[in-house]
Assembly symmetry: C2
Homo-oligomer: 352 residues x 2
């Protein structure tokens, strides 16, 4: 089993090192890791944020462990050379269409949230975001109209098969949880959303045990503030998912603890091919200081073990070790503690 | 001076009655009001949510006072006949391009917010949302592709003049406040956003006294949870504005108190032509029970007096009366109080 490790920019390499420590400590037979450049680091070394060698390595692997991309020194590059394009390129080239973003309150960390503790405490939701369609990859340009005005445009669309495959992922996820699925769209304005809603309803016939509801995106943004505890699984398109999943993460308060999976269609021998990354960014302001919290990165490794390698027991072992470290007061600066990157990684390894 | 009163559906007529009481109590000379049907009520009476007579009345008026539209019994109508289309139709037909949505914490109501009081207390922001462009009014359809698959699509775009006119509104609003403007877009993915950003930067040259910043929409959704107090004026497109303005309102906690203005290009003799409405909906569940809180409707009237009729003193008088009523404990069910619709209206009239 082969894991491609793409550390990326900023704090990426530091937190990746801790995830690798944890992987080594699990002492799994037949697991091989290989590193490749991505993001601003790749641009600087190879002239492109997603070099062909990196993509080739990913394709030859069973799963990808991804740190973070984003480098302020690349801000003025042309769009297609900016670090973020690497993640968009990987999603598209590897058909990573299903982004799973769990947002769950960690017991004892309610005070980290800007929400009142009694509201924050109830958060236990999973956002399933579509990653390959919508307005992200449609035709787009800035052009000059006949009358001389500049216009920016982007084509938004979903085809029925794109909606159906993400709906299946979401319904199945709901079956494994509280069996409630809320589909978020803007069907009162967008035809893309109307088709989305039609296809989600059609797909629901195969999941009579899951309770399906629909919510407009503006209302969903309100409900995530008012009472995020009402949600079990939320499924939505690429653009709304980008916004709502970040909002939901922040409701939890500790984005240094949240992991995500981007799953493809391809099945490996042990699970589903996928990319795993913390939801936080490359945090250039603290890069190199040894202060980054590697927990989200380590929890991303746990998701990788579960979804791509079929190692559920080991995934739980890692998650339990992180929870125990938190209980024992091992907290990074983001949680108001004083533990450094390596210290946190070591503590988790000890607890394994 | 002529005000078109469009009460609409659900609690619309009940709260409109209280706003009219307040207007009458101000005893302004030369103000005339005229009623017209809109929304589900208009569909039932005339077969269309925005009948030609209603539009004609609006065009012949200096300002529009709007209640709320939305009627569950219309849910299965074809899209163009649904109540919400009335508001989209008015925005487009009357070129109401600038939506101003202030979100400010009312002193003493911090406990109504799901945010921690120390976070909620700091909220004092204005969202300026563009209303005539973006993916709302572009070409859209559900079609069958050559390969037989159904596809929903919507064309997203902004032309430079559309961005420029809303940018001017936002910069001027910032000049009248804390002189900080944050433009929200998704320029790392959307060309529509890239043009938006370019034009906002160009326009900023005319406002050297305003500090301009830019934020991606996913980050903005996070920051509105983490620390909404950081914002002064936020300017954004139609779709992101729909989501973020509702999120910001809910951060305040008491959506029964929040008013909005949708301003056009046309200048009346006394100010800018505009439509004024509470940000809450038609609340069909409590319609007819006399429980709706008319404060947001009455505060919408105050915005109308200010922006369209140039009656700043009277606008402040109304706002002060609402604040006094709240201080005196006159609270609707939405604020945990027991005051009914008419009782609240009467209390405000008494305090004028
Ligand atoms: C970096 C950016 C292109 C990306 C997105 O919008 O998808 C990011 O915000 C995310 O959510 O992974
Ligand atoms: C009813 C709907 C079409 C409308 C919108 O999306 O603009 C509403 O949500 C609003 O914000 O006024």
């Amino acid at each position: 089993m082969k894991i491609a490790c793409l550390a990326g920019d900023g704090i990426g390499p530091e937190i990746m090192a801790e995830a690798k420590k944890v992987l080594a400590a699990l002492d799994l037979p037949d697991i091989e890791t290989a590193d490749a450049d991505v993001g601003g680091a790749a641009y600087k070394a190879h002239g492109h944020p997603l070099p062909p060698e990196t993509l080739a390595l990913c394709k030859a692997s069973d799963a990808i462990l991804f740190g973070a991309v984003g480098d302020p020194s690349c801000d003025n590059l042309e769009r297609h050379l900016r670090p973020e394009q690497a993640i968009l390129g990987l999603r598209q080239a590897l058909t990573l269409f299903a982004n799973l973003r769990p947002a769950t309150m960690f017991p004892g960390l309610e005070d980290m949230s800007a929400l009142r503790p009694e509201v924050a405490r109830e958060i236990d939701l999973l956002i399933v975001r579509e990653l390959n369609g919508d307005v992200y990859f449609g035709e787009k340009a800035i052009r000059t109209l006949d009358d001389g005005r500049r216009q920016g445009f982007d084509f938004m669309s979903y085809a029925e098969d794109e909606v159906r495959r993400i709906a299946h992922v979401a319904f199945r996820a709901a079956q494994g949880r509280d069996k409630r699925l809320c589909s978020v769209d803007k069907a009162n304005v967008l035809e893309t959303s109307q088709l989305w809603r039609d296809v989600v309803i059609e797909t629901s016939a195969e999941y009579p045990d899951v309770e399906l509801s629909h919510m407009y995106v503006d209302n969903a943004a309100m409900q995530l503030v008012r009472n995020p505890g009402q949600f079990d699984v939320v499924v939505t398109g690429n653009l709304f998912g980008d916004i709502l999943s970040d909002q939901a993460s922040m409701c939890v308060g500790s984005i240094g603890l949240l992991a995500s999976a981007s799953l493809g269609e391809a099945q490996t021998d042990f699970g589903t091919f996928g990319l795993y990354e913390p939801i936080h960014g490359s945090a250039p302001d603290i890069a190199g200081t040894g202060k980054a919290n590697p927990m989200a990165m380590i929890l991303s490794l746990a998701m990788l073990l579960r979804h791509s390698l079929g190692l559920e027991a080991q995934a739980q072992q890692v998650e339990a070790a992180v929870a125990k470290a938190l209980e024992a007061g091992v907290k990074g600066a983001d949680l108001g503690g004083g533990a450094g990157t390596a210290e946190i990684g070591d503590a988790i390894v000890d607890l394994l």
